[in-house]
C-alpha cells in the first residue's frame, strides 16, 4: 500500500528552494505518438495495419512484416511485471534528486515487453494495469499501476510526479460567478486541496453564491477582474507565491454571428476570454513556473476552460468562437513557454454549458457539475486535453477525422 502523503511542513524561507529540472525530453518523431495519447489519457500503441502485430518501442517499420503502415490504436492495458530494479545512481540531474527510482519490465498481454516506471504497490510477478502519462518534460511515459485501485495509490511519489493532483495543493479559481465554480470547489476539496482562493470581479454587486462560498472552510473570496491588469497584478502579488494550481473559469459569452453583431460584445469576449488568459499567465505564470519542484505543494498546473468551438467555429456564437480559438492559440504558446519548468497547461474543452447564455440550444448540454468533474479528473490524471460532455467528445472525433467536413456540418444544411 502507498504511504499516505503527509501535508507539507511550513517552509523554511532560509533554505534554498529546489529549482525545476526536467527528465530527459529528447524523443524521436514516432515516440511522440505516446505523448499524443498520454495528453488525452488513452493507452495507444502502434498496431501494424498489415499483420496486426502490436509494436513497442515506437518505430517506423513493423519488425514482423516490414510494413510501414503502423497505426496508433487503443490497446489492452494489462501486463505482468517480469523484472524490477531500484535505481540508486543516475547521471541525470532530474533523477539524481529523486533517487531511488523504481523501474521494471512488463510483458503486455498485447505482446511487447515495455520498460516502465513502477508504482510502489507493484513488483515482479504482479498483474498490472498500464497507463500512459505525461512526465514533467511533457513527454508520454508508461507506468505500471496496481490492477485494482489501492487506498491512497495517487500518493505514490512516482505516480504523483506524473499527475497534477490537487491533494495538499492551493488552488485559485478565477471567477466566482462561473456556474461550475461551486462544484469545482467541492470537487477540489474532496480531492484534498488544502486551500482555495476564488476570484470575484465587481465585488460591489455580489451574486447569490457569494455568501455560501465565502463561508466555506479553507475557501477565501478575493477581488479579481481578469479584464483589469492592475487587479490581476495585485492578486498575484498577494497569493502568486502560494498558487499551485490556477483554474481560469472567467469567460464572457454572447450569442450571435459576426455579420449582425456589434463589435462591442466581441471586444468584451476577447478582453476576458483571450487577453484575460494572457494577463493571468503573465502575472501568475513566472512565479508558478519557478515553483514546480517545490515539494509536496509545488506549482503544477494552469487550467483553462474552453469551448470545444475553439477547434471549429459555431456560427451561432461567432465572436465567442473567435475568442475561444484565440485563447486556444495562446494556451499553446504558454504550453511551450512553460515547457522548461514542467508546469502543465491543461485545456478542458466543453460543449455548450447548461446556463442562460446557451438557453436556446437543444440538449445535450454540459451541467456545471460535469464540467467541474472533468477539471478535477484532468488534474488527478495529469491530462493535457480533456473533452467534457458528449457534444465536445463528438466534435473532437469529427474534427480529428476531417476538419473541413466538420466546418461544413457546423455551417448547417447537412442531411
Amino acid at each position: 500500500m502507498s504511504d499516505k502523503l503527509a501535508p507539507p511542513k511550513k517552509k523554511n524561507p532560509q533554505l534554498r528552494q529546489r529549482v525545476p529540472t526536467l527528465p530527459p525530453q529528447m524523443r524521436s518523431r514516432a515516440a511522440l505518438g505516446l505523448t499524443a495519447a498520454a495528453a488525452r489519457g488513452v493507452f495507444s500503441l502502434q498496431h501494424c495495419e498489415e499483420c496486426g502485430a502490436v509494436k513497442y518501442p515506437p518505430r517506423d517499420a513493423c519488425c514482423s512484416c516490414l510494413s510501414v503502415s503502423l497505426d496508433w490504436r487503443e490497446t489492452d492495458r494489462t501486463g505482468v511485471v517480469i523484472s524490477e530494479t531500484r535505481i540508486h545512481v543516475s547521471p541525470d540531474p532530474y533523477y539524481r534528486e529523486r533517487l531511488p527510482w523504481r523501474s521494471g519490465l512488463v510483458r503486455l498481454s498485447a505482446g511487447p515487453t515495455v520498460l516502465c516506471h513502477l508504482h510502489g504497490d507493484v513488483g515482479r510477478g504482479d498483474t498490472v494495469r498500464m497507463d500512459l502519462k505525461l512526465d514533467k518534460a511533457g513527454q508520454g511515459v508508461m507506468i505500471a499501476l496496481p490492477e485494482k485501485r489501492s487506498p491512497d495509490m495517487e500518493d505514490d511519489e512516482q505516480l504523483r510526479s506524473l499527475t497534477a493532483h490537487p491533494k495538499h495543493r492551493r488552488v485559485l479559481i478565477t471567477d466566482i460567478r462561473a456556474p461550475e465554480t461551486r462544484a469545482l470547489i467541492d470537487g477540489l476539496l474532496a480531492a484534498g486541496a488544502s486551500q482555495i482562493f476564488v476570484g470575484e470581479s465587481e465585488s460591489w454587486r455580489r451574486g447569490s453564491d457569494h455568501a455560501a462560498i465565502a463561508a466555506l472552510d479553507r475557501v477565501s473570496v478575493l477581488p479579481l477582474d481578469v479584464s483589469d491588469p492592475s487587479s490581476v497584478k495585485k492578486l498575484a502579488a498577494e497569493i502568486g507565491g502560494k498558487t499551485d494550481i490556477l483554474i481560469n473559469t472567467a469567460r464572457h459569452v454572447r450569442p450571435g454571428g459576426v455579420l449582425g453583431a456589434d463589435t462591442v460584445f466581441a471586444r468584451e469576449e476577447l478582453e476576458i476570454n483571450a487577453l484575460g488568459l494572457m494577463r493571468l499567465a503573465q502575472a501568475f505564470g513566472p512565479g508558478m513556473a519557478s515553483r514546480t519542484a517545490d515539494g509536496v505543494n509545488s506549482a503544477v498546473a494552469f487550467v483553462n476552460i474552453l469551448s470545444v468551438h475553439a477547434l471549429s467555429a459555431d456560427p451561432q456564437y461567432g465572436a465567442f468562437s473567435a475568442s475561444q480559438a484565440a485563447a486556444l492559440s495562446i494556451s499553446q504558446t504558454l504550453r511551450a513557454e512553460f515547457r522548461t519548468s514542467g508546469l502543465r497547461m491543461i485545456n478542458v474543452f466543453t460543449g455548450p454549458t447548461d446556463d442562460e447564455w446557451h438557453q436556446p440550444l437543444p440538449p445535450p448540454k454540459v451541467p456545471p457539475k460535469a464540467l467541474a468533474k472533468s477539471v478535477v479528473e484532468g488534474l488527478c490524471e495529469g491530462l493535457e486535453d480533456v473533452f467534457c460532455g458528449d457534444v465536445a467528445k463528438d466534435l473532437e472525433e469529427r474534427w480529428r477525422r476531417d476538419p473541413k467536413v466538420l466546418e461544413r456540418e457546423l455551417a448547417g444544411g447537412g442531411a
Binding site: Y56, P57, H88, V89, P91, P100, L115
Partner: protein
C-alpha cells in the same frame, strides 16, 4: 555451405594503451597511441599500412575516414565497427577475410575512446533511438538499470544469488592485481562485494564497470608476413557473430551465442574441454555467467553452480578474464570490446607476462554489445590458437 577456414591469416602485435579514469585527450589521441604501438611492434611506417579498422563511440564529428587524414594513412581497405562489446571479434572477422582474399595486406584493428567529465552522461542519453525513447527516460540509470532488470529476471528464473555473481567479480579482481594496466589496484573480498552500496538493485558497486579512457589494438596479416617480420602470432580456429537473436524472448536470459555455438566448435574442431582460458565480455558478472552457459561450458541455469565449482583465477582450473576484465581493468568505451581479445592474443603467444596462464595454447574470446533498448543485440566469439 561449409564455411572456409582462416588458414594463412594471423593475429599479432597485441597492444593495450594504459587506461585513465578521466582524460582531456580525444578519441583521436587514444587511437593514435594504439596505432603507433602496433606499427612500432611490427616495424611498419604509417604510410605502409593498407588496412584500418576502427571502433569508437567518441570520434564525433569524425568517422574513420576523417581519421585517415588526421593520422596520415592511405589505406585501400577501411572499416568501422560500431558494435560496442562485440567489436573486437567482429573487426577480426572482417579483417581476416579481407587479408585472406588479398584485398589488403595488413589491417590495424584499433578501438579507443575518450572519457571527459560528463561525456558518459551525454553518450547514454543519445545512445540509440530506442534508448532515447523507451529506456533512458525511466530513471536514467543507463546500462546499469537495463542490465539490472535482466539480472533480476535471471536470478528469479535460475535461483542465482548475488554471492554467485560475486565470485566472478572477486576472481577478476585477483587477476587484475597481476595486470599492470588495471585501474582497480586493491584486493576485493566477497564480503566487500556483498556489502557494496547499491547502484541499481540487484547490482551493487562491484557489479559495474568504471567508465574510463583508453585504447586497444592488434594487427591482422598473412602468416608469412608475420614470420618475415619476426612476430609471434595467433591463428584463428573459428569465429561466430549474431545480431538481435531471439527477439521473441520477453527478457534476455540467453545471448546470440546459443544460435551459433555448435558451428563455432565444429569449425574449430574441438569442444569446450580443449579451451585453456576464456575471455568473456564482462560488462556485468551476470553477463559473464550467461556466457559460460551459452558458450557450452555448462548447461543453461547451471552457471551459478559452475562458478561455485571452478577457480576462475589465472592459476585456477578455469582461467577467466585474466587481465581483470572490464570490471577491474576499466571500461574504455569500445576498447572494452577489444580488452579480452587483445589479452587472449598475448596469452596464446606467451606474451602476457604477469597474467600469463601456464601452457595456454587455446583461448575462447566472446563479445557482447549494444543494449539498444532492453537487451544486448550483438554477440560474437572466436577461438584462437597460439603458434609458437
Amino acid at each position: 555451405m561449409k564455411r572456409q577456414n582462416y588458414d594463412g591469416v594471423v593475429l599479432t602485435a597485441p597492444v593495450s594503451v594504459p587506461y585513465v579514469r578521466y582524460s582531456q585527450e580525444t578519441a583521436h589521441w587514444w587511437i593514435a597511441r594504439a596505432l603507433k604501438q602496433v606499427l612500432d611492434t611490427a616495424g611498419m611506417a604509417p604510410r605502409e599500412l593498407d588496412g584500418f579498422s576502427v571502433s569508437s563511440f567518441t570520434l564525433f564529428p569524425d568517422t574513420p575516414v576523417g581519421l585517415t587524414q588526421h593520422l596520415g594513412l592511405s589505406p585501400r581497405w577501411l572499416d568501422s565497427i560500431p558494435m560496442g562489446g562485440a567489436s573486437g571479434v567482429v573487426a577480426l572477422r572482417r579483417a581476416a577475410r579481407a587479408v585472406q582474399a588479398g584485398d589488403v595486406d595488413v589491417v590495424a584493428c584499433i578501438a579507443g575512446d575518450a572519457n571527459r567529465i560528463d561525456s558518459f552522461r551525454q553518450l547514454l542519453s543519445s545512445f540509440s533511438r530506442f534508448a532515447m525513447d523507451a529506456s533512458y527516460p525511466y530513471g536514467s540509470g543507463g546500462p546499469n538499470a537495463s542490465f539490472a532488470l535482466i539480472a533480476d529476471s535471471y536470478m528469479a528464473e535460475y535461483g542465482v544469488t548475488r554471492e554467485d555473481f560475486g565470485r566472478i567479480a572477486v576472481a577478476q579482481r585477483s587477476n587484475a592485481l597481476h595486470y599492470p594496466n588495471a585501474i582497480m589496484k586493491s584486493p576485493l573480498t566477497l564480503e566487500q562485494y556483498l556489502a557494496a552500496r547499491p547502484i541499481s538493485e540487484p547490482f551493487g558497486l562491484f557489479d559495474c564497470v568504471m567508465p574510463c579512457a583508453g585504447a586497444e589494438g592488434f594487427l591482422v596479416m598473412r602468416e608469412d608476413e608475420a614470420q618475415r617480420r619476426g612476430l609471434s602470432y595467433a591463428r584463428i580456429s573459428a569465429t561466430i557473430e549474431r545480431h538481435n537473436a531471439f527477439p521473441e524472448d520477453p527478457v534476455q536470459l540467453r545471448g546470440g551465442w546459443v544460435m551459433d555455438i555448435d558451428e563455432l566448435y565444429e569449425m574449430a574442431g574441438c569442444g569446450p574441454d580443449a579451451i585453456d582460458l576464456v575471455q568473456t565480455y564482462d560488462d556485468y558478472p551476470v553477463i559473464s555467467m550467461m556466457q559460460f552457459e551459452d558458450l557450452g561450458f555448462c548447461a543453461k541455469g547451471e552457471g551459478a553452480r559452475f562458478v561455485r565449482e571452478h577457480d576462475l583465477t589465472i592459476a585456477g582450473d578455469f582461467p577467466h578474464n585474466t587481465s581483470g576484465g572490464q570490471l577491474s581493468a576499466g571500461q574504455a568505451g569500445a576498447a572494452g570490446g577489444y580488452l579480452g581479445l587483445v589479452e587472449a592474443i598475448r596469452q596464446v603467444t606467451g606474451q602476457a607476462g604477469p597474467t600469463q596462464v601456464t601452457d595456454a595454447e587455446t583461448a575462447l574470446v566472446s563479445g557482447f554489445g549494444m543494449i539498444n533498448y532492453d537487451r544486448g543485440l550483438c554477440s560474437s566469439a572466436a577461438i584462437l590458437k597460439g603458434a609458437r
